[in-house]
Symmetry: D2
Subunit: 161 residues, 4 copies
């Protein structure tokens, strides 16, 4: 069992730029974070362009789908922005790749106090290893099928349709 | 689906006492940690006496078994010291409670830099919701059946027998 | 010796808002931060409106001056945004209040990984207790007179004129 | 102005060893910590053997004195265990080196949540630059002359004799 982790950015991986005072994307935190998790499962980390998921266009989702299709692994975790996670899931779901693909992210960036990023990464890493082939969103302790999930933006939580 | 979390101490929950300069047990970090995880799954937190798992005796393991037996939930995560996690699993496994019981912990305490505690908690929380009834150890990205796991103390990792 | 600390916001005190995904101002981090510092010196914390120092207008600086004038203490630390710290210092300096007034802040918010906030707060707290009456900027290990300091915005450092 | 920082260990620099589960000494945290502080003052970091100050013997204090004597800088911060900080100060004080020497440390290790280490380092770094030649203990916002300081071990605070 090898786990593939696709980094695509999102709140999870945002970085504070001290020169312009804004949160944006630099180096991914994933390599340091995975070391910290002391993983004994084999992991293949693949870094796609890091972006805010509100900025994703069709080509970005096509690239994620291509990476999932090309992956040798059957267990895939995608680190993704929360705002359009269901949209990307809706591109991956109908493709029926025969792999267990789990989208996750964070409400608070990994590098900011009180972040939920590590919990969600751990949570998604288990879902990818245990559930049957399919596409799922796994956030804050709950697992959703790709075609029955939405982000409640006012409350900052994921919920069924 | 409600998740029961049993806190029993272990490295995960150790606290630095600034008066005596030692790591010991005070208030559990679990309530603050669970809030940080922004859980949307319902959780019942049960705190047993917090202890180093090297100090556990039969009565301590009997108490954990009793809590699992009494629990109304079918998904249970036990926060446990790493040194004797397989021994406690070996008490719970043969009891065949018909629930999914997952032992986890941490190599570095939650309150110390670079801790793996949150990842493991997230990981175990998914295993408890997804695997069939049984007793498992879930640590650092790998899942073990209760009767096929040991801690390699020299390397600080869990592995099959 | 009592130390007065004036909170005015700035990068130091910014807070990540998980609903809108932006850094803004909420509750000040100063009460929790001061507890963490385990101060044995007496401290009077005064919270003014928290703002980005780029948004400060004359009235905001007049309010800071009024607080310094009214303070019973002779040692004052002002937590301030870095972008216009020298401008506020230039309002306080000529007032010649006969108190030791030290402006400080942070390049990285207190709640973000790798923040310099605590170091700067400690640094400024000593400058306020040790230097003669006057107005100073104290950042990242260097002390500047109020009329000989500028922020090099490209490099993100304070330096003499 | 160059600041010399002598690392000698103490609670400040303790490191959690995940294999034996104890706090001990490994690599000093000072290089990473100083980078984090974004210091613009020039710093010379000198690492002596890292130890618990309860384990210090006369030879250890003689070595600290020798480093202070040999230092080209007039401003010196010593990171030291809290338990015998006054004893080391009592070795350095009578030597009358004509330098400003400031001992500091932490009640909570730098790598543990809620540590006061960074505040104390910042505080001591300013005291070393501003006070006249002499030997001082600077902890948690208060400055003490070397011959009028003690640690109240029950309360975990420094106070005058």
């Amino acid at each position: 069992m090898t786990l593939r982790i696709l980094a695509t950015g999102g709140t999870f991986d945002k970085h504070y730029d001290e020169i312009n005072g804004k949160l944006s994307f630099g180096e991914s935190h994933l390599p340091a974070l995975l070391a910290r998790c002391r993983l004994t499962v084999e992991v293949a980390l693949e870094q796609l362009p890091l972006m805010d998921s509100l900025d994703m266009v069709d080509a970005d989702r096509a690239r994620i789908l291509a990476s999932c299709t090309a992956a040798a692994e059957n267990a895939i975790v995608i680190i993704h922005g929360t705002d359009t996670m269901p949209q990307t899931a809706a591109v991956l779901g109908p493709a029926q790749l025969g792999k267990t693909i789990v989208l996750t992210g964070a409400m608070i960036p990994y590098e900011i106090a009180n972040s939920d990023a590590m919990f969600n990464l751990g949570f998604a890493s288990a879902v990818a290893q245990t559930l049957p082939a399919g596409v799922y969103v796994a956030m804050n302790g709950k697992i959703f099928a790709w075609d029955n999930v939405q982000k409640n933006k006012a409350a900052g939580v994921f919920q069924p349709l």
